[in-house]
């Protein structure tokens, strides 16, 4: 077999894992500040995919242009979800928030069933099948766009967290909520912002999904699980780590699907997940500090 195939699989894996990565960054922000395992993340991804689908089919708005509409809308939805659903129970134990996320997931899934029907949808743009050649490798246009979007997303989130005052407050809260409150940080505001960004990133992942895959109302859960695996691989508290975790998961799945079968790919990614949880719970790229065990 040609050695080129290994590189091609690697590229496919990276591009594939990008999607998990974007979802995982959102999860890491939400988990980092509020210790909420946000199961509905994947469902928000699919909701955004439907939004892009609907805008494209009804108003002929290009999916990459619809980013400008969908992401701000999801920011608001995210902040609103925090204020209505999680504000009251943010201080309760972790599994009440887990159950609320689950309830939200069921609610949204079935909302999408009613509004968009259970049919599997795919966004058929004129350029969906385009691919370009780079150093002799075939690279899909929509997937590399997803990769570029992910890089922009990471850049924006990193600048936000490092340079802005509220971003610094988010980081402070994720390291220690009590001390952050002591120095006068408004926890609810920080949490809303973290939630808004988390859901905003879900929207971006959703548009990337809409342009590359077929999806249905119930596709979200698998994305949540994959994003969680990515998060566990990369470390619960690191934005870049979460993204790298997603990419690593994509690479693992790409190689296993090719050499064994795609059925085993999922199985092996869960086994890797369990082992990482057991033996390196701070993640492969995470720092020990700040991770609560």
């Amino acid at each position: 077999m040609d050695v080129k195939i290994y590189f091609q699989l690697f590229i496919n894996g990276v591009l594939f894992g990008t999607m998990y990565g974007i979802g995982a960054i959102g999860l890491s922000l939400i988990y980092g500040t509020m210790r909420i395992i946000f199961l509905a993340q994947g469902t928000f991804i699919i909701l955004a995919a439907y939004a892009a689908f609907w805008l494209f089919n009804t108003y002929k708005i290009d999916p990459y242009l619809s980013i400008l509409l969908v992401i701000p809308a999801f920011f608001l939805v995210g902040a609103g979800s925090y204020q209505t659903l999680f504000r009251k129970v943010a201080r309760e134990n972790e599994f009440t928030t887990l159950l609320i996320s689950f309830g939200l997931m069921i609610l949204l899934e079935n909302f999408m069933c009613v509004v968009f029907t259970t049919n599997t949808r795919a966004l058929r743009t004129a350029y969906a099948a385009n691919a370009f050649e780079l150093f002799g490798f075939q690279i899909s246009f929509v997937r590399s766009m997803a990769f570029v979007m992910a890089l922009i997303g990471i850049g924006v989130v990193t600048v936000f967290l490092k340079k802005t005052l509220i971003g610094k407050a988010v980081r402070a809260s994720s390291e220690n909520m009590e001390y952050a409150t002591l120095v006068g940080i408004n926890t609810h505001r920080v949490n809303s912002v973290a939630f808004a960004i988390g859901i905003g990133l879900a929207a971006m992942a959703g548009i990337a999904v809409a342009t590359t895959y077929a999806f249905g109302p119930f596709s979200g859960f698998i994305f949540s699980l994959k994003a969680m695996i990515a998060l566990a691989l990369g470390g619960m508290n690191s934005v870049l780590g979460a993204f790298l975790g997603g990419v690593l998961l994509g690479i693992i799945e790409s190689y296993v699907s090719f050499f064994i079968s795609s059925g085993w790919a999922h199985l092996i990614s869960y086994v890797v997940f369990l082992f990482v949880l057991l033996f390196r719970p701070e993640g492969l790229f995470g720092r020990q500090r700040g991770v609560k065990l």
Binding site: V89, E94, F102, Y270
Partner: protein, 316 residues
Amino acid sequence: MRNRRLLFGVILILFFVVLPLFLDLENSYLLYFLFMTFIYVALTQAWNLVGGYTGQVTLGLHAFFGLGGYIIGILWSRGVIGYLDSIGMVVAGASAALLATVVGIPLLSKLKGDYFALGTLGLGEILRLATIQGGTLTGGPTGIMLPSSHFTNIAPHYFIALFIAIVAIAVTYVVSKSRLGLALVLIRDAESAASASGINILKIKVFVFAISAFIAGLCGTVQAYYLFNVEPQGYYNLNWTIYPVLMCIMGGAGTVAGPVVGAFLLSAAFEIATYYLPDIHLMFSGLFIILTIIFMPKGIIGSGEDWKRLIGLTVK
């Protein structure tokens, strides 16, 4: 007080035992509803032992439920056991308990809180995917069809489910009144204090995890005997974990009666929603979950004091 509660329980059981005499065994929807509710009562108690009393939030109940069902499917389709075979059911439950022990030792010793929840969630997914890849042993994605010609009516399933539910309640009751129960609650509320007072935390956690798995496995066997087929999506379905968790929280986690109340109320609510709002009943369920958790985080039984205050029994 305690005698009165016991008497109430016995009367309730007698009621459910004689009820089928007055109903049409062939088509009674009520019997089917009660059958499913008994299964949920047992599953909810199984979760209550680990999640409610010991405070270890497991999201892997469906792994043991599915395993129980599949062991019946595999053994029965190969003629090793027969229809409604009690030995087969115990073997299936014991296998689930064995799996819980083997998996529980690393998971419970290393993972706490959210991480344990995620780990158990992963376990269910691993079993589901392994079953799909299982080839002729598990029948792959379509599963195994079982000889349905044995079916006469729902009565045997009804009584077995009732029996399992009673056993699950009795186990929870006995545990909650024993030294073991005290140890569980201490592990939940102050793990380091439990460890300091000489409790072997890991041993107790794994033991309770195994009991819970045994009950969940039994529930899976009844489902297999009732549906006459086993398949990965239906048996390793996360709903078998999430509904019991919800019922437990709604009724009151860490109480004996809470899960029973929660299971009955929620099953009834879901049935009513399915009947009156056929298109959107799952949306309704999702909303119901959110509202319950936000407004009644301690559950119906757990909020006893709040109820009394509400109707003016106790002065604040």
